[in-house]
Amino acid sequence: MSRVYLYALLSGTPACETGVGVCSERLRVVALGDLVAVVGDVGELPAPTALTLRAQDAVLRRLCAAVDAVLPVRFGTLVADDAALAESLAPRRPELARALGRISGCEQMTVRVWGEAPAAAPPPVAVEGGPGTRYLAGRRRAREWIHRVPELEPARRGLADLVREERVERHDRPPLLATVQHLVPRGAVGRYLDAIDGARAGLRPWRVSVTGPWPAYAFVDEAA
């Protein structure tokens, strides 16, 4: 019995052949109102291996070469049939259309921030009140801090014109401190890498490594 394996969401049908998918199956599109889903008919869930992951990434890159806006779907997403797909996506169409608008014409650069310890947080502002009040104030600051990467501050000026959006995940697991995803216009990769290289000395003691460009995997949701 075949099921539907989902690769990506697009704003329109790609003009050219989309090739084959992870299980060497022919790809096809499913129209969902103003969205289009790129799917394949497979027998069972493919296991994540170097081969299958690379194959899926290759599908996404072919789609990115064919159309401006491609929303990658998480690897291994399997539904029963086209109707199930339509049903699960229907309530999210406005939000998905917005996401496609956001990432159109852009790709993702991934920066990992490395160091022996995170940048020191600014000293806490004194808060009046009992233990509960101070706790809540502390939690508020902690939440703000989760999406900050002060370690990258010296690089920000050089990157400002190139970065449309940013997503941050702090790990604070030395030497892996944080992962930063940057949405940059297509074709800006060279300038982006030059800007990072130019900033490396100023970033010390922290180091960065960069990979990309990638399809916009990290930008499917709105900023936190």
């Binding site: 989902l6 493919p46 296991a47 994540p48 899926q56 998480r74 399997l78 797909l85 699960s88």
Partner: protein, 68 residues
């Protein structure tokens, strides 16, 4: 059906070189997530967590709409 893929997700990490790690991160941790009963499987995630996720997302939508 999902158990072998979950094991495979861990296995692939053991042998991954650094170029593969970013690929794994992007494809297994990011991208649009479909949740709910329609999902038959998601690599590396057992169905019970998919159902939990669907329920929790719904709870979050409801509570986010409440006036502060």
């Amino acid at each position: 059906m999902t158990a072998p893929t979950r094991v495979a997700a861990r296995e692939i990490l053991e042998t991954a070189d650094d170029s593969l790690l970013d690929l794994i991160d992007n494809l297994l941790n990011r991208g649009v997530m479909i949740s709910g009963e329609v999902v038959l499987g998601l690599a590396g995630v057992d169905l019970i967590y998919l159902r939990l996720q669907a329920m929790l997302c719904a709870a979050d939508r409801v509570t986010s709409r409440e006036a502060p």
